[in-house]
């Protein structure tokens, strides 16, 4: 697990929590970016997660990796955030009932990384498992510890996520190729990152 040894953090130490924040915040933020639809939402949830963790820092037990513990708080926060966001979306839809439904801004859709769009379209629990496994490099046991569920549940979630993502990823691959061609002249950096694939 890409985390410092747990014994390097002292529960309740402000300096250690500052160090944990500096090392874990970017990774937690990226995890939440794959779960939530908006970078501002990801930042808000990540900051909330660190506030909650800081309030409970004295009670943190070093037997669990600190970053996994932060991830657990952050993913739970993101799940509840997405749930409430969906409720707000339903309310907004009901308010706008009768009006023509406006889709996403085409320019925004064109600049969105397609894989992240696909990840955001699946349930957040599944997306979190995928990101922890395929981006952070956790194994199933570590994901289970981080999310507070059993290894079997993690295996099920990973399989379900793969089933849902596979058609989206295959479709987005072809679309990404066309997008890449169209934006090749405008963004040299993006072209180079896509070229890695």
């Amino acid at each position: 697990m890409p985390d410092q040894p747990s014994d390097t953090y002292q529960p309740g130490s402000r300096e250690d929590f500052d160090r944990l924040y500096r090392s874990a915040y970017p990774r937690v933020y990226r995890t939440l970016t794959a779960i939530l639809h908006d970078p501002a939402e990801a930042e808000d949830c990540a900051q909330d997660a660190f506030v909650k963790a800081f309030e409970a820092w004295k009670r943190w037990r070093p037997d669990a990796p600190a970053e996994a513990w932060i991830h657990r708080i952050a993913v739970n926060r993101a799940i509840s955030y997405r749930r409430s966001s969906q409720l707000r979306t339903v309310g907004e839809l009901l308010r706008r009932l009768g009006r023509p439904a406006g889709g996403d801004d085409p320019a925004q859709v064109a600049t969105k990384p397609d894989l992240l769009t696909a990840l955001r379209s699946i349930p957040p629990k599944l997306a979190a498992a995928i990101v922890l496994r395929h981006y952070h490099g956790y194994n199933n046991r570590e994901i289970a510890v981080a999310l507070g569920v059993s290894e079997r549940t993690i295996g099920t979630r990973l399989s379900q996520a793969a089933e849902r993502l596979r058609p989206l990823v295959e479709r987005s691959s072809s679309e990404a190729f066309s997008l890449e061609v169209s934006s090749a002249l405008s963004s040299e950096q993006e072209t180079s990152s896509y070229a890695e694939h």
Binding site: R30, A34, Q47, F54, V131, H134, N139, G155
Partner: protein
Amino acid sequence: MPNTEHDPLDRGFDWRLKAALDRVTPPPSNPRYASSVMGGARAWPLVPALVAAGATVLLAISATAFTGSANPLVWVERAGSTIQTVNHTPEAAPSAEPNPTTPRNAPAAQAQPDQGPDHQANTAEPKDSPEPTERPEPTDPPEPPSSSGNHSGQRSSPIPPSN
């Protein structure tokens, strides 16, 4: 049961996910936890003020209910009179208490604790005392029967008018 360690997605998925998320950089922002106090201790300084405010509200409600007035001056007057009453009560109390210097009251005072509640009930309601007879007070004399059956409410004179 799914194979928990099997990668259902191919290796290219990992590379693409890594490339996509590595491009995401968190915006520079001050950590929000830095403005909070560890352990939720930020609420503790407010506890005495909250307790004092609650006690004041309870006192005001109790005083209003006791005096029936929302005016604090009334509360003060009522409290002063209550304190005076309490201070006067011990002065009158010794006459009821058993006084060892007065042998006439002593046996009666000593005998009271030994006697059961029946005796208290008897003392409360003495059997020998005559029951008060409730005699109806004489009211207006009964009206003489009216032969005419006048129910008009006018009182007829018992003496016939002399012509």
